[in-house]
Symmetry: D2
Subunit: 349 residues, 4 copies
């Protein structure tokens, strides 16, 4: 019962096959090979963005931090949700890559910025001149860190606020496939058509070995990205092996299939949990993560049976009453099986 | 005839097998898995350094720049050879990761710093106080960018100069295996026993997909490295796939076998080239790279036959006399075949 | 009626005299002169800190940002009040000087961090390891941006929390003299005896031309400070003219006399304002700043009469009902006269 | 006999008078005062540059580093002479302010880059793409660190090379007045008319207390400068006292008068030295600095008589033969007297 994270799973067989297939002979390094070109072309087609610049890096933190770096200057603010990955889980990577920009935190329930809160936060940031951090960019996460979604309309509302202040919009899409699978819209509708300028398109959490694409819809920013990527040590010499993962991942709809499966497993888990007396959800289950509150007794039983997951947001005290309610996060992935979920559910009942 | 770089080759079958084997089930992410532990243990054993901290990243630039970052402060100098990879080929990554340290260039023939030139350069850097960049660290490359070697004694001479000024020593070992295979010494003799504090141990150029180990012989610097690695986006969630490459690479002596093969191919190429009337070498061929001067006529014939390689250091004028001598670099790898070399040699004769 | 800021005033005559007196002949540059030595000695004596390292810079932003830089690493948090000058009014200088540290905001009424809120914020920052910003330092401001004070006991409570986590403490004392004059304690009691490690000791706002001292009670951090100061362009060649200001400022109790005067003027203003029907204070008046809420009608009368001050925190709408209550900030300085205050008060009645 | 530096002298009486005069009443802070406006206007007029943005900072390092910061990106090269102040004497300030740009050193005799060497250095920097530092800007110093000059034609040659590569040009003019006084041209001829985009116009070394103007001939770069200045702690609250120095300095031709005097003293010193048997000059004396080689015996006599100056570039061994020739630097300033020079010369004969 592996619910600790979607990154404890391995590589989907089709993607591993793509890696093995790409390992033939000599090809130019640093992205000038046919596999890399094909992967870029695939993404342009999928996103209906023939002009987009597309680059591959190996981690989500790199994708996000490089994206922020090309969209801000050091004296500017990155507006993001209080619980955004770039704020909470990247050890200050955005500050490092931007040479010291400030993340200014926006409130919002269930991991989502509200357009109103964003507008208020932007409006009160730096209007008075040189003494203050200036407005820089907006970054939103979809699916969010709370396992919830922004539908295209909601992305559009956020982007409209940004545009009203002339700010570019970045989307941290480390779970973009989960969002897409759940919402049933097109990649374009959830990105540039809704006002996103740069997208971190995740692969790693959803069955790849380690690859994320950065999709830059305005190619004017491309060359700076290339220089920053190299300077940050994120340009791979054997780039074909990043691209091959992406090709395997996006080919034949595999990415959405796997994300849809993970979402379905989370939904099944979520419904089962709600059947436990007293259990409740911290956040609605909209993608592949379940945030649930369960009695200490149930947690003890799950842990004893070997279930892997994290308490949320922090570990509880080691001792306490059996009926004490304790929150936890359960993440499903492409590799989660119905049997795992059902075993889990049988334990909590 | 693929002599453009050792990174145009693919992944050695044994290493690809190790990747496939590591792809089983769920394991903890971020390096807390058994494969990662085994790879660390393997390196500690190979280097006779049971206390060493060992970390994996995917690119040589990341390995070098992170190493520099933990060994200097922003107002210090990194002493390195004028042609060092960190100076010439990393788009300023050391400056980025160190928050602005200055690379101070040391002269020396055939890509090697001389101990005397290093001492002179250190002595004249920043002795006078707060107005000047302070002395920070020494970085040397082995095998060098000129395809030459520092034997353990030579490393020791460089390190002795550094130690006389209290400076730590980094070795860029993106081709450390080539050096080791050529010199026939132990990993320890070529690193910490000779005075190296931190080693970038390359895998990518020598048959891996994309992995370098940073071996920190003084573990006091380990935690800072971990934070900087994460902050730079170089901590992989599915870390097992970096470690698996290293395990496959270092297992059963594969790394030295492949490096030895590449060196042998370069030697064969080098000897053959010297048989051409008028041909000469820019640098002695001591590892897997050949820097040779050939007539324009010969280059034309090679290019026409599809040979891939770079002119060195720059492209010549497009037109010129047939007997004009033009320098080029030819790199051999684990994947270079004797047949490739022989075809090449038959063409130049 | 000049209440816009304490930095619209000029230089106290005694300090200008000190500057003129220091302008005799040739002296060594960069702080190796007798005036600089005397100023350092004066501060060491006043603070009962014979070992303290003392440096002069010309702006409060420089003093604060350099102090933060020597007390944190780039991946660490600077804990400060949500309204701290370093957060709000320095255009990201702390991020710049620290190479990207993160300011983590602590709540608290009237510009003061509460020890409980600080403990809670520190406790929830980065306990989980490498993914998160690490705990770095605490910075508090005294007198605060809200014109309130931390008494030595309160400083001690804040410092005790910091020390419980092993964190150093910086005090932004751009109005330290105002705090001292109001509290009637010794400089040592309000700084190192209460747990402050590094103090920005302001001069500019209180009658100097442009000088702040950074007092580093642990001299181990001194050399790094010197290098960072030079690297940031804050080492003056003709340093005697910074030191001379400080000597004049601290000589014969002038600094406390001027600060006491400014505080008294603010108290007089505050009391007078409270006499206005409907008027109230946003914050208690404890030093030289008054934050008051007055009817729009009164503001109109004041502005018409030429009174200079800022609305707070933002400008109100240009039009509104005459009895609408609007907040503003009134700052008194060494140069504020009783007549100015009384004219002001006669207008608002 | 004060020849250690032009910054050991004090403040010219006329400039001190301007400071005293500016100290009247309350004025707006941060540069929005009448004195600041007048100083800006004065510089625009003197430079025939009515659109120029003009800012004041207190140190030459700040002026230079901020200028570099607005003219480059972190992955670019700053081309400068090997002995430039920004390379040698600012403890890495340019690297700090530019977030890690690389200073690429250009050769040239007597402290001057030759246009040919500059072209060669630019041409071989980063033409090959993303792996290399990119071309950024050119910085030249006038008068140079060797006490020599670039005449307007020479500046124009350097600027023409820069322009051929699309690079902006910065001039470090900490001794611009000395250059101007010696060359007899106009400020415009020696700056923007010759192709300079941004000028650091020194005041401190030539009789001011601590002020340099940054003159940005293309005002598009102005707002970024303002933000960077604030962020670096170089925006003065009581800005009138920077501006007042500049007004006093530039008023009535004082700056050129003082610089001309310093130059004349250096010429007299230089001629006298050449009368000593065996003495010679390291560099031609073209402004206010003399680099001369004198016998150890003469140095001993000078030191014994209390003459202050630095050996150059480093201190000699403490003991040696009496006729050993040892180089030293002698700097004259606005405050150097003919009597000092003559006493000095009488000693060396």
């Amino acid at each position: 019962m592996h619910f600790a994270s979607d990154n404890t799973s391995g590589v989907a067989p089709q993607i591993m096959a793509a890696l093995n297939a790409a390992n033939a002979g000599h090809v130019p390094s640093y992205g000038a090979d046919a596999v890399s070109e094909a992967a870029v072309a695939r993404i342009r087609t999928l996103f209906e963005a023939p002009e987009a610049a597309v680059y591959f890096v190996a981690t989500g933190t790199a994708a996000n931090a490089l994206s922020c770096a090309i969209l801000t200057r050091p004296w500017q603010a990155v507006f993001c949700h209080r619980e955004a990955h770039i704020e909470v889980d990247e050890c200050g990577a955005p500050e490092f890559f931007t040479d010291g920009a400030k993340l200014v935190l926006v409130e919002g329930e269930h991991g989502r910025m509200s357009a109103g809160a964003l507008m208020q936060t932007i409006a009160t940031t730096g209007p008075g001149g040189v003494h203050h951090i200036q407005r820089g960019m907006v970054s939103l996460t979809n699916a969010t860190e709370a396992g919830t979604l922004y539908a295209p309309d909601s992305v559009g509302e956020i982007a409209a606020v940004a545009q009203a202040y002339g700010l570019p919009v970045h989307m941290d899409g480390s779970r973009f496939a989960n969002a897409l699978a759940a919402l049933g819209c097109t990649p374009a509708e959830l990105s540039w058509k809704a006002g996103v300028d740069v997208l971190s398109l995740g692969g790693t959490k959803n069955g790849c070995m380690g690859v994320e694409a950065v999709v830059i819809f305005d190619p004017e920013r491309a060359w700076e990205f290339e220089l920053r990527r190299k300077r940050a040590g994120h340009l791979f010499s054997k780039s074909r092996f990043l691209a091959a993962q992406m090709l395997g991942y996006l080919g034949g709809g595999l990415w959405l299939e796997m994300a849809g499966h993970a979402n379905a497993m989370a939904a099944r888990l979520s419904e089962g949990i709600l059947g436990v007396p007293g259990a409740s959800l911290l956040h609605p289950t909209e993608a592949n993560e379940v945030f649930a509150v369960l009695p200490r007794l149930v947690h003890a039983r799950l842990r004893k049976a070997g279930a892997e997951y994290y308490f949320w947001p922090d570990d509880p005290a080691p001792e306490g009453p059996a009926d004490e309610m304790i929150a936890a996060r359960f993440v499903c992935s492409w590799a989660t099986t119905g049997a795992e979920v059902d075993t889990f559910l049988s334990l909590i009942r």
